[in-house]
Amino acid sequence: MDLVKLGLTAQELPGAVPARTIRVNPEQFRAVCQEALTEGGLLQALWASDERDSGSGYLLRVALQDAQGLVIVELPITNEDDGYPNLAEIFPAADRMQRAVDDLLGLKSWSGDTRPWLRHAAWPMDYFPLRKDSHPPESAAIRDEHYAFVPVRGDGVHEIAVGPVHAGTIEPGHFRFSVVGEKVLRLEERLGYTHKGIERRFQGMAVEAGQRLAARVSGDSAVAFSWAYCMAAESLSGTTPPPRALWLRALWLERERIANHLGDLGALGNDAGFGVGLAQFSRLKEDLLRANERAVGARYPMDVITPGGIATDFDDTQRRALKADISPLRAEIQVLREIYDDHAGLQDRFVGAGRVEPGLARKLGLIGLAGRASGQAWDLRTDHPHPPYDQLEVRMCGRLEGDVAARVAVRFDELNESLLLCEAILDELPIGDILAPRAAPTAGRLGLGWIEGWRGPVFVALEMTETGGIRRCHPHDPSWQNWPVLEHAIIGNIVPDFPLINKSFNLSYSGHDI
């Protein structure tokens, strides 16, 4: 993105993430975001912080993604009532992020949706968790709230309310369908049920303790969030983890991708009435988890990554064992793929269901795996390869159809790609230290982490205090961008296809609700 054209000078941000920062006024804020969109850029994250202790009000930040990396646009806001330009007019995905900023800090956009998002009725309206002078309420009465869903009126239109507790073993959220017969006219999501106040919880934590919390922003993406968090912390301390640690991080990230894709492919078969698929894929996933446990003592390597490197290594016997598992797994996946591809009943459910055309995907900012299945060719491992991905030849997998079948196909393709990467990593795994010498993170600066998790890009922005505690940490899951697109994917489909379409996105509630 050409910032000079807009009369702005950006500053390079040190660290593993290619990023620049610019400070703007409201007019420039809008111009920069518009320019990013015109040039094909994306909205990566939007968050704000209370800077009144340093005498400068509040600071709203937007992370924009372009071909060179990230541009962090910083907009100072002097008073609570000043507000800021409504970014949702440029990037629709900004809408819910702005509402979350209002819930947590009491800063409103000038013309956006004013309904609360993460705030339900569980704490008082005058409590803003991320304001530094705000004290948690002693005990607030928890009430059932009224939420103004958008009504759909017309002959024969009725509503189906689903959740927050769903019929399966999944996370809580509310879906309000407006339907005629079986056909969905409109879906409106109501999320925030798993809001745990993670951003406030981060405040004051030591940098090492922060990793444990970051890993639990969304448990299924623990490796991605851990790595992104540690990458941010390392950029603040000027640390580069030893080569072996970086290669091991990539191994665990790819194994997290494999585990989730295996689970999803089984569940997608099951949701289309093919129970054999679930039985077979869940067996393969269990084999993978047990191999993880043998290698590092944990079925899910949630806390294997630590600031400065890796906490748990394995020996050469384990390396060979992990390598030996790959070929048989690939062969099993191949057979199951042929079974899925040839099964008329499955294909009938998959093809054409929940279609998001590339044009719509682009407009709404669909990212990650679901984005790649709708022609949005972004993958951090190929766009901005950080070590060790700069030494591994990653092939981006994508489709243009944008339906459930395309999201299934991208998962199969990515499984193969991740297996190849794991083989290459295990073959070329450097020998040596796994932890860099400890260095204190610098205060007064922004540290960024940006990792292509299995669902999409995971982003962490971290700031430390002079005394070594966390000042502000914002973890961002790609589900923020993709949840609103699911509302569009279901339009015109029938209600019974919703579980299948929802599963084909498999978005995180916890990662979104934080």
Binding site: H120, I142, T194, G197, R201, L213, S508, S510
Partner: protein, 170 residues
């Protein structure tokens, strides 16, 4: 179709024996026998996520894979609390889930068992203290058994479920 049958036949039965409530892997008949002695029929479980990070859900899902042969032991997950004997509750109970959790508890017919899953469910999780979570399932609804772990393994989940059945019998 032929390929599907061939795949099923070649993989065979991978189910393993059930762990005993006390910890060692023993004959699966022990859990089965407890369920039969207490309920006289299958144990129906309703899962409720009360604000977990979804790590516990991954392991509850794993519990339903063929290795653990859950339904073979007479345990099944049901879609409604009205069909359930037991609630399996994960998460530190986010304040936004308090009324839903209470309503699920009320909708579950007596006699009922409640198992709180994971470090969060048992009040040892990373999310507390926080303005947005209660901190422990037992602070919100009555709990019979707490299963520690972040997340607890499928074997630990089975042991906790078995322990709750033992509570139900006593």
């Amino acid at each position: 179709m032929l390929r599907t049958l061939k795949k099923i036949a070649s993989v065979g039965i991978v189910s393993e024996p059930m762990p005993a409530a006390e910890g060692q892997w023993r004959l699966r008949s022990e859990i089965e026998a407890r369920i039969l002695a207490t309920l006289g029929r299958a144990l129906c479980i309703r899962h409720v996520d009360a604000g977990s990070c979804n790590g516990c859900e991954l392991e509850i899902h794993a519990l339903t894979n063929p290795y653990y042969n859950l339904e073979g032991a007479g345990i099944k997950f049901v879609a409604s609390p009205r069909h359930a004997d037991m609630l399996l509750v994960t998460g530190p109970v986010s304040k936004n889930m308090v009324s839903a959790l209470k309503r699920v508890y009320e909708a579950t017919p007596e006699p009922k068992l409640v198992v709180a899953v994971g470090d969060c469910g048992s009040g040892r999780g990373v999310f507390c203290p926080s303005y947005a979570v209660c901190g422990r399932v037992a602070d919100v609804i009555p709990v019979d058994v707490e299963i520690p772990g972040c997340p607890p393994s499928p074997a630990a989940l089975l042991q906790g479920i078995a322990a709750a059945i033992a509570v139900g019998r006593s």
